[in-house]
């Protein structure tokens, strides 16, 4: 996360780290149910085998195991069938864990939006991750507040790419707070009434985040995929069991 700050332990209990040896942390991910995690499809390019992945919850410092830490293996990786690697569209995937997590105050799921629940431009939301900070890779989870940008305005930053309705843009025009490499798959969450944090975006792509030419971050628009997510969880829980 560029321009963010170090998070307090437990502040984002749905944040998880998708890891694969020998590199360790590869991508962010988000807990949405006892056995289900969301991340982006591009994290699995070249590594589609579930057996090489593990998911770590309840940590703040990647380098320090915490008493709240829970680790699970990956049972199933469900890539969106329309994922388009070339234009990074439909960049979303669901991960089924090999067993339920224990829900604690440090490990608990985020809310999913309904299909009709959209986040308006100029809303302030948070992005979190262990991705590049511009000058180094952090060990501690970083967080940053970003403002939702309209798709039209976002398109004006990316000449060579098409911003589709499957995407969501956020960040400041000046580009001070942004997601970066290693944040992919992590959450963009917005606080809803009654203090419920809801997942509206998954860090997907953007301009080269530590070059001078900055632009907003582009996120997978989770509202567009809610029905598909619920469908896949139903099929894998009740029909393939």
């Amino acid at each position: 996360i560029l321009g963010g700050r170090t998070s307090r332990p437990g502040r984002w209990p749905w944040q998880c780290s998708l890891q694969s040896e020998p590199s360790g942390h590869i991508c962010g991910c988000v807990l949405i149910g006892k056995k289900w995690v969301l991340t982006v499809a591009h994290c699995f390019e070249g590594r589609e085998n579930p057996a090489v992945w593990e998911v770590v919850f309840g940590i703040n410092n990647l380098d320090h195991p915490s008493v709240f830490m829970q680790t699970r293996m990956v049972k199933t990786i469900i890539l969106h069938p329309r994922y388009n690697r070339a234009v990074v569209d439909y960049d979303i995937s669901i991960v089924e864990l090999n067993e339920d997590i224990n829900e604690t105050s440090y490990v608990r799921p985020v809310c999913l939006p309904s299909r009709e629940q959209l986040v308006e431009p100029d809303t302030y939301c948070y992005i979190t991750g262990w991705g590049h900070m511009g000058n180094k890779m952090p060990f501690k989870l970083q967080e940053g507040e970003v403002r939702i940008i309209s798709l039209e305005q976002c398109q004006s930053y990316f000449d060579m790419k098409t911003i589709t309705t499957r995407m969501l843009c956020a960040g400041y025009e000046s580009g001070t707070v942004d997601s970066c490499m290693g944040d992919s798959g992590g959450p963009l969450v917005c606080e809803q009434p009654a203090g419920r944090w809801t997942l509206f975006g998954l860090t997907s792509w953007g301009s080269v985040c530590f070059s001078k030419v900055l632009g907003p971050g582009v996120y997978s628009n989770v509202s567009h995929f809610t029905e598909w997510i619920e469908r896949q969880i139903y099929i894998h829980t009740f029909l393939l069991g």
Binding site: R8, G10, R11, W12, P13, W14, I32, G33, R82, A86, S105, Y106, R108, P109, V110, C111, L112, E152, Q155, S156, F158, D159, M160, K161, T162, T165, V189, Q192, G195, R196, W197, T198, E227, W228, E230, R231, I233, Y234, I235, T237, F238, L239, G241
Partner: protein, 376 residues
């Protein structure tokens, strides 16, 4: 390849024969770089003149963004053609030989466009030294030079009426980029070869219609896609299956959609939430005979809800004027079924004359631990 076995860049290509040298191992490959799909040649090989080792690397390179943007300045008519000859150099599939651009093409491009880059503080790509390319008609080496039917714009561009190229993402964005405003004309979906969602005016590709994924906000692109017979129901992928197989616990649709959304709760006038099963295009309530609490848990989970369910047995069912109910057969197998509706059967008497009412709660989500107070 000095040995008969080729290094992995060749794979087991027959092009590497015993007498060839390592240099000759790269083979022609079809061009997939979208930016250069309208060239007068179809094959390339790597590394290219910018040092990119693969087309993927070329596609995410700085130069693949730089040149299309520079083309919009109209600094040189054949700049895009030159850019492609160094991004995806021409390869002759018969001889496996690479055919470079001619030096004049390189010099013209650099001479006319380098200064434009300079205005915005950017540099001409370093390793496009024009002296590495042959002069036209010099000796035995052929080279590429643009002829009349070369496309000035890439497939990622829109060609203004004036002939200038602007990026296709600028087309119909509400701002005129062509001097003659032609990029903001004929902006309807149909003119752009797209299909218009009636209510939202959103344009989608024709291939997205009836493909099982709703793209229009009101999902109209997935309506009227099936032509089922009277005794059939349409799956989500628009196949037709006999309706008697709908929600019977057996999968009939290829996408399994006949076994989705089979269990819901329906409210009656006295706001009781009856457990309801939708089977063969009919809705059923569930008779309470032999009901067990773990089935309430399973039913709530099937509806994507969690938490401890509240189960109520509603007596005098017949008074409720609902004729259809399903039963748990008494001789039920002890295996734990994966769904409630696969356990239920029709056509049995409801001895208790009562049905199940169920209240499920939403899974708890999105709550953060309160910040701990710490004395300073």
């Amino acid at each position: 390849c000095t040995s008969t076995s080729c290094p992995d860049s060749c794979g087991n290509s027959s092009l590497c024969n015993v007498n060839s040298s390592r240099v000759n191992c790269s083979q022609c490959e079809p061009i997939t770089l979208e930016l250069c799909m309208n060239l007068p040649y179809n094959y390339t090989n790597f590394p290219n003149y910018l040092g990119h080792r693969t087309q993927k690397e070329a596609s995410i390179s700085w130069e693949s963004s730089l040149f299309p943007a520079l083309v919009q300045t109209n600094c040189y008519k054949y700049l895009m053609f030159f850019a492609c000859t160094i991004l995806v150099p021409k390869c002759n599939p018969q001889t496996n030989q690479r055919i470079p651009p001619c030096r004049a093409l390189c010099e013209q491009s650099k001479e006319r466009c380098e200064s434009v880059l300079g205005i915005v503080g950017l540099q001409w790509p370093e390793d496009t030294d024009c002296t590495q390319f042959p002069e036209e008609n010099s000796g035995n080496q052929t080279c590429l030079t643009p002829d009349e039917d070369v496309e000035e714009c890439s497939p990622s561009h829109f060609k203004c009426r004036s002939g200038r190229c602007v990026l296709s993402s600028r087309r119909c964005d509400g701002q005129a980029d062509c001097e003659d405003d032609s990029d903001e004309e004929n902006c309807g979906c149909k003119e752009r070869g797209l299909w218009e969602c009636p209510s939202s005016k959103l344009c989608i590709k024709y291939t997205m219609i009836c493909d099982g994924f709703p793209d229009c906000p009101d999902k109209v692109d997935e309506k009227n896609c099936s032509f089922c017979k009277k005794d059939e129901l349409a799956c989500a992928n628009h196949d037709c299956v006999p309706h008697k197989g709908w929600c019977d616990g057996q999968i009939d649709c290829a996408d399994k959609s006949d076994e989705w959304n089979c269990v819901t709760v329906s409210k009656n006038m006295s706001s009781l939430m009856f457990l309801t099963v939708h089977r063969s295009a009919t809705t059923y309530h569930v008779c309470a005979d032999g009901w067990e609490e773990n089935l309430s848990h399973l039913a709530c989970r099937q509806m994507g809800l969690g938490g401890p369910p509240v189960t109520e047995i509603v007596p005098d069912y017949k008074q409720l004027h609902h004729e259809n109910w399903l039963n748990l057969p008494s001789e039920r197998e002890s295996k734990n079924a994966s769904t409630v509706h696969s356990l239920l059967v029709a056509g049995l008497p409801c001895r208790s004359n009562s049905v199940i009412s169920l209240l499920c709660t939403k899974e708890d989500c999105g709550r953060r631990p309160a910040a701990r107070m710490s004395k300073r």
